[in-house]
Every structure is written in C-alpha cells, then in structure tokens.
Amino acid sequence: MIKFTKKNNHRVSIIPGFNLSLGITIFYISFIILIPLISIAVVTNGITWQKFTSVILDSRVIASYRISFICALTAAAVNCFFGTILAWVLVRYEFPGKDLIDGLIELPFAIPTAVAGISLAALYSPTGLIGQFLAPIGIKIAYSPIGISMALIFVTIPFVVRTVEPVLKNIDPVFEEAAYTLGAGKFTIFRRIILPELIPALLLGGGLAFARAVGEYGSVIFIAGNMPFKSEIVPLLIMIKLQQFNYTEATSIAIVMLLFSFLIMFAINSLQIYQQRLIRGGR
C-alpha cells in the first residue's frame, strides 16, 4: 500500500498546507484520472497473454511504433531548439511584431487538429504553396514521414515555449551582467548560467511535446499518406481496430503506448528531482 508520508530522513517541512493540498490533489486525480483508467484494465481483462503479445508485436504494429516514436522525437527535438530561441526572444528582446508572435504561440492548441492537418497538407503537398518549390528538388513533405513530423511540430509548438518562458522571466539578469563584466562570453553565460536553470523546464516541455506527439491523431492522418509500413502511425492502427468494434485489441495497443509515454515522463520527473537535489546540494 502506498503511503504518502513525509520522508523521515529529511527535516520536516514547516510550510503549512501539506495535508490539505495533498488531499485535494489525490482526490482530484483519483476522480478524473484513475477511475476512467481502471476501464482499460477492465476491458483488456478478457484477453489472454498470448493474444495480447501477438497483437502488440505484430510486424505492422511494430513498424508503426517506430514511425510514431521517431517522428515524435524529431518533433520534440525541433521544438526544444526553436522553442528555447522563441522563449528567449520573447522574454529578452523588444522588436516590432513581438506581440503578434507572442499571441500566435497558442494557436496550434486552439485550432482543432484536423484543421491544422488539412491546412498543412494543402501547404506542403506537391502542388501546395510551399510544396511546389520543394517537389522539383525531390523533397516530398506531405504524404511522407516528414509530413508527420511537420504536423507534430505544429501541434506541440506551445509546450516548450510556454514552459521555458516563465523560468527565463524569473532569472535575474544581475547574474549575467556580473558574468559579463567579469569577461565571460555570451555563449559561456548562456551555457553556465542560463542553461542549467532552463534544463528542468526544457526537459519537461520536450517530454510533454513528445508524449503529446506520440498520441496525436487528428492532424497527422491528413498529411501522413497512411501507407502501412511507411507512414502509418500507432493511433491510426488503434482506430482501425476500433472500426471493427475490437475494443480489447485496440486497448492492448493503447496500453503499450501509455506505458511507454508514462515511463518517459517518469524518467523526466525523476531526472528533474535529481537535478534539483544537485542544485540544492551545491548551495
């Protein structure tokens, strides 16, 4: 049985509100998350282990895991890079049009994913606004795995920007100025002073983007091409199973995805707490 007791080897926190806040947190999580989650167990209860493994290890399913994970990873990495730059630019610089950029960041969330998928496919198809310039030089974006990554990048843009931004705002420029007057280069300042502060947020934002990207369905199917073994993503396979009213097999694949994403988030959270301890220990 899990007990949420405070660790004895640490000094007991004197900050109030432990029981209240933890109580609310656990109640809310149980009601909104855990109760529905039990259903997955209930539904897959009827399946034998053998059937389960044959469903989740089918060669076509494995091909789609690979496509989904690689594309999601690419999208998360791209967004970590550009997201940090964007957050930096938004926090530190003033320039005309900044408010516009700032306001557009949330757009990918507000626009239904299907609309995003249709628009992106229109842009990047070989006859599209951008695609027409890429097609002659042999770059095919829509209806290929690159298209999947494009859609996933679009859908997950806000995550990294918006998790990094508040942290950047909280970093006191005094430290940087001090380092600068001591002769540190721009890059050194970024690497030694700013990046360590950003890493937890960056990891979190990247992790969330990845997890979201793996499960994304609506935008991807319009741009992916959906060819088996080439551009077929895992959520599409789940839909195929559902279309045939095959709940158990659909949830079996869903469980694999869920476990995988869960492990990634768990690793990120552990890493964060570990890193936080490192910083604390240093002080």
């Binding site: 900050i15 529905p36 239904p112």
Partner: protein, 270 residues
C-alpha cells in the same frame, strides 16, 4: 557590442522565420479558404444558430475546465514542490497521464467507464445520471485532457525557486494563505498566466477525446471543433474553415486578455 547585436538579430530572425513557416502560413490557408466564397456566405455560416450553440458549448466546457484545473493546479503544485515525501514522482507522473494518452483513447476510456457498456452503468442508472453523450461528459473529458497544464507550468518555477523563502516566512509565523499570497504568488504569476492560457487554448480546440463521447447531437452536444469536422465531411470545406476562424478569433481575444493582465501586473509593480 556589435557581436551582441548580431546574436540578437540572428535569434529574432530565426524566430520570425520559424513562426512564419509553422504558424502564419497555415493561418493564411485557413483564412483564405474561409473567405473563399466572399464575406456574405462567411457571415451566414458563423451566425448560424447551430454554430452559435456550438460556440456557447465550447465556452462553457472551456470555462469550467479552466476553473477546475486552476484550483487543482495551484494545490497540486504546492503539494508536489513544497514538500518532500515518498512517491511524489509517481504522483507527478500521474498528473501527466492526460498528456500521454492519445486523445481518442482518453475519450474511449470515459465512454467505457460511464457509457452503456461501462462498469459504472448500474450505479449511474440507479441515480438516472447520464454522463457520456451529454454535456457533462464533454466537460469531464475537457477537464481530463487539460488537467496537467496549469499544475505543470507552475511546478518548474516553484522547483527552481526552492523553498527557503516560504520556510523563513513560516518560521516567522505567517499563515499558509499569507505565504502563498505574499511570497509564492508573485513568483508563479507568469507561469500561472501561461498555464491558464495554454489550458484555455487546448480546451477550446480539443477534438479527439470530445468526439468519442459527444454523440455529435447537433444543437446539443456539438462543440466548435466537432462542428468543423461535420461541415468538412459534408463537403463544405469553406464553411468548415469559416467556423475555424471563430477559434482563431477566440485565441486572439485570449492574447488581448493576457496582455491586459501583464500590463496590470507591471503597473502594480511600479
């Protein structure tokens, strides 16, 4: 000095190009398509009574979800960053579950829990409660899908601040609420604002999960994203994109609200 300037312009340049390719061009496609048939058909579509109903339902679901998740987010962030105890990592990861579940599966598990073939059905039937394929279900999945946003945007800030200041205040005898209001809140207010904005945007645009449990009853359980899909599938591409622009406008309103809040906070500071 010139070197610093060049870095600055480089970064701004990269940002603008990235935003232009990834956001402005798709937006252009949407608006272009929405006005494909001119202004008057556009206004006919967005003032249709089913469109307006879908808009009000979207606002209701979004509002409720944001309110619930803000309250939860503050408590959860407090519980998970101000204290050290076993299993806090597990609890944090549990909060992340809605991110890690494919929206379609999220909708499906609600349907399998509260629906006709769900295991809670005998209880719900007894009390004559209908959750899925009704407004309640739409609100519930919206809450589910957007649950982590606020908690998770506040937490990194609280982590990076450490607990010293709050501990000092507590030692001096400040009450929980005072500590929160005077010490914690000023640090997390930006994160909270961003969290609320992300949460609102995501709640407005959520399609996959809501689609599974809505039942698509026109004028009853259709949200804007669902309406867009129905129009699209009915070979009404222009109408679908016209309705999409409502969501774009909502996102812009959100931005304006955010700027007002930021401006007010700056004023208070000065």
């Amino acid at each position: 000095m010139s070197k610093i300037f060049s870095v600055r312009y480089l970064l701004i340049g990269i940002s603008i190009i990235f935003i232009f390719i990834m956001l402005i061009l798709p937006l252009y496609v949407i608006i272009n398509e929405a006005f494909h048939n001119g202004f008057s058909p556009y206004f006919n579509v967005i003032s249709d009574k089913f469109t307006l109903h879908a808009l009000s339902l979207t606002l209701l679901a979004t509002g409720t979800a944001v309110l619930c998740n803000t309250i939860f987010g503050l408590f959860a962030a407090w519980a998970l960053t101000r204290f050290q105890y076993r299993h806090s990592k597990l609890l944090t990861t549990l909060i992340d579950i809605p991110f890690t579940i494919s929206p379609v599966i999220a909708g499906l598990i609600f349907s399998l829990t509260f629906g006709r073939i769900g295991w809670t059905q005998p209880i719900l039937n007894f009390f004559h409660i209908k959750i899925v394929f009704a407004v309640t279900g739409i609100i519930l999945v919206t809450i589910f899908v957007t649950l982590p946003f606020i908690a998770r945007t506040i937490m990194p800030v609280l982590h990076s601040r450490g607990t010293q200041e709050e501990e000092a205040a507590a030692l001096m005898g400040a009450s929980g609420l005072t500590i929160f209001r005077r010490i914690t809140f000023p640090h997390i207010k930006w994160a909270l604002l961003y969290g609320i904005i992300l949460c609102t945007a995501r709640a407005m645009g959520e399609f996959g999960a809501v689609s599974v449990i809505s039942g698509h009853l026109r004028g009853k359980t259709d949200t804007l994203p669902l309406l867009i899909e129905i129009l699209y599938n009915d070979f009404k591409m222009t109408d679908a994109f016209a309705v999409s622009t409502i969501l774009v406008v909502l996102a812009i309103i959100l931005l304006v609200l955010k700027n007002i809040v930021e401006y007010k906070w700056h004023q208070v500071k000065e």
